[in-house]
């Protein structure tokens, strides 16, 4: 009902009588299966047999959310009918683990075909959470580690899949929470921030246009610095390294992702930046001015080879006007500069002419 990227020609061909007949048979078979599953669940037949009927139906139609709910009802019943907690008896433990593993492999194969189906990601998360309550910590942890591999595979296939990125953040949260050692009363510190930060570096190096990875990086850096208990020198080094990384990326200045990340780095210099997204903690106005001038000068240099890149003019105006400390007698920017950049911007980017007109008005040029 919401199709994406399917060519019209393929869909609008008129069906032959034979194809039509075949489709009617498919419909009858499908509706029979739907009716059967719904009836058995209505009769509360929460059995392994019904579980496998839902497998069949969900394989044909993974978007049928009610059937995923039915499946959960059946699984809950099967878990609860175990007389003793699974973690105490190895038979029951294995049985629980088998149910969970079966649901994971079902959803893995469906995710390969339907990587953007909300219900598949939801079901995985649910089955693991329910399972965790009934499994030994070591087994549960192993399952969540498997999830990290799965999501890495999914992001390998589509590095911008936002379902997968969200799921990755969930999985990391779980792995940080579950004790790494059995019988551990107080879980030892097992943050994955370093590993996740390294993962974004890897993803960015593979494809600079991966804004999802840049985004995640922007969220991880402040946490990383806090966890490392970085001193001021280390924090400044982090910001310098990030600027260096993005300067390398400027080789293709037409990519939006890198400009957004550059804007993120610059936003951390603002006096209004919040503590939870901070990189350097004790910024002075002199620091702000120095970083700002450094970046503006760097970007001006790119301008010499890339006169037709509108992003350059846009950020030059933005940075020059959003940092009041740049103003004053020693300012490296003049009103003439702003006027020239804005006129370039208007010429290069006529789609957003209304925005540039507003900007001109706001700046009083």
């Amino acid at each position: 009902m919401a199709s994406h990227g399917v060519s019209r020609v393929a869909g609008s061909q008129t069906r032959s009588d034979l194809a039509r007949e075949k489709e009617l048979q498919q419909i009858a078979r499908y509706n029979e299966l739907v009716e059967l599953v719904n009836r058995k669940v209505a009769e509360r037949q929460y059995t392994v047999e019904v579980l496998s009927l839902t497998t069949k139906l969900l394989t044909e139609n993974p978007e049928y959310y009610t059937i995923w709910n039915h499946r959960r009802r059946v699984l809950q019943h099967l878990f609860l009918s175990q007389t003793e907690p699974a973690s105490l008896s190895s038979d029951k433990h294995q049985e629980t683990l088998d149910f969970i593993t079966a649901d994971l492999s079902l959803t893995t194969s469906l995710l390969r075909q339907y990587p953007k189906c909300y219900w598949l990601w939801n079901h995985r998360y649910w089955v693991l959470q329910v399972g965790e309550a009934r499994l030994q910590a070591v087994a549960a942890r192993k399952l969540w580690q498997g999830e990290l591999q799965l999501v890495t595979m999914m992001l390998g296939a589509d590095s911008r899949n936002f379902h997968a990125w969200s799921y990755r953040r969930f999985v990391v949260g779980e792995l940080e929470r579950i004790p790494a050692q059995p019988n551990e009363v107080v879980p030892s510190k097992q943050s994955m921030v370093e590993a996740e930060f390294a993962y974004t570096t890897k993803m960015i190096k593979a494809n600079l246009s991966n804004f999802s990875a840049w985004h995640n990086r922007s969220k991880l850096i402040p946490k990383l610095l806090d966890e490392r208990e970085s001193d001021d020198v280390a924090r400044r080094r982090m910001l310098d390294d990030e600027f260096a990384l993005i300067h390398e990326a400027f080789l293709d200045p037409f990519d939006q992702s890198i400009w957004y990340y550059h804007q993120f780095l610059m936003s951390t210099l603002s006096s209004r930046n919040s503590r939870e997204s901070a990189i350097i903690l004790d910024l002075t106005d002199t620091d702000r001015k120095r970083y700002c001038e450094q970046e503006i000068n760097f970007i001006k240099d790119i301008l010499e080879d890339e006169e037709d890149c509108k992003w350059i003019y846009e950020v030059l105006i933005q940075y020059s006007t959003s940092f009041p400390s740049l103003n004053g007698n020693e300012s490296i920017i003049t009103a003439d500069d702003l006027r020239e950049w804005l006129s370039k911007l208007r010429g290069l980017d006529p789609l957003r002419h209304g925005r540039w007109a507003d900007l001109e008005y706001t700046l009083g040029l």
Partner: protein, 324 residues
């Protein structure tokens, strides 16, 4: 408002418009009417989990096209109410479980058809009951909303909840301040919002977050220039809009991006003429309907969001739509 346009003309007002700037109104009306007559196609049955949404999309498009009676009102109301559970929630179709997504569509349809009276006549206290179902899905700790009893959270549900509750006149049942706090927690440095705290900015989620803030009367919390800048960059050279940086254009974002821009008074930050032309280019001129991109298969989802986008852009002959 009446539209006087024959097949292949459309636009309602000006038959002198060049072919590529015409809206094939009659074909779209017939396309939407045909949707429930496709029971001999497997796809019809495989999409039953979207039936109530589909009805909302089709009905809204018909209202915008100036053909509000093209689907029989009583049959629509009967169908909607047949999806209502004792809990006060609606499923996608009879026999499907209740969920926020369908409950919101049901409330929107009942509001469009001015049918809350029909609801009360058949289910005493129906409005209040539906509102309570929605209110009970709010998480008291975080302020956000679950989709159903299985407790999956997403800013789509938060927006849907506030939208439906305001239509039902029962905003008093939820903690609006907490919900606003949650939206704030989903904000990113680029001015946008994601599915939850920590998630990347996405035009669809921005629509839900800005819509929620708008209903809550808290648009003062938005950095309009920053968000407007990000949203305006969704427009690509071909006039279409994408949902995130470095992604392809798609008609459904015509609505999410443009209505978000309208809510923060920045719709003039994109080229509206080019967007109009892009949306029109995705029409199927033979059988009606709009697709995600030119030449692709049409569906009722993109037909609705494309026509809603055109309405927002004040395309001649279309009824006006509220951006929220």
């Amino acid at each position: 408002m009446s539209l006087v346009s024959g097949p292949g003309r459309g636009g309602g007002s000006d038959s002198a418009l060049p072919q590529e700037l015409q809206l094939f109104v009659d074909k779209h009306v017939r396309y939407i009417q045909s949707l429930d007559k496709r029971k001999d196609e497997l796809e019809y049955w495989l999409t039953e989990h979207l039936r109530l949404n589909g009805l909302y999309w089709g009905l809204t498009a018909l209202h915008l096209l100036g053909h509000p009676d093209a689907l029989p009102r009583n049959e629509v109301v009967d169908f909607v109410l047949s999806c209502l559970h004792d809990s006060g929630g609606f499923g996608a179709a009879p026999g499907h479980d209740a969920h926020m997504l369908y409950t919101v569509s049901a409330v929107q349809i009942l509001a469009t058809l001015d049918a809350f009276g029909d609801l009360e006549a058949r289910v005493e206290g129906g409005r209040r009951k539906i509102a309570q179902f929605i209110a009970d899905l709010q998480n008291p700790d975080t302020g956000t909303f679950a989709g159903d009893e299985w407790a999956e959270y997403d800013t789509r549900f938060l927006y849907g909840a506030l939208n439906a509750l305001s239509l039902l006149g029962h905003m008093d049942l939820v903690d609006v301040d907490k919900a606003v706090e949650h939206v704030q927690a989903c904000a990113n440095f680029d001015g946008g919002y994601g599915t939850g705290p920590g998630a990347e900015s996405h035009a669809g989620q921005i629509f839900t977050c800005i819509g929620a803030l708008s209903i809550a009367g808290r648009l003062d919390l938005v950095d309009r220039d920053k968000l407007g800048g990000w949203l305006s960059e969704r427009q690509l050279k071909n006039g279409g809009l994408n949902g995130r940086p470095e992604k392809k254009e798609d008609v459904c974002y015509s609505w999410w991006v443009a209505s978000s821009l309208a809510m923060i008074d920045r719709l003039h930050w994109i080229d509206q003429g080019k967007l109009t032309a892009f949306i029109l280019s995705t029409q199927d001129p033979e059988l009606g309907g709009l697709a995600d991109r030119p030449g692709d298969m049409v569906d009722v989802f993109h037909t609705h969001f494309g026509i809603a986008g055109l309405s927002l852009l004040k395309f001649p002959g279309l009824a006006e739509i509220d951006p929220i």
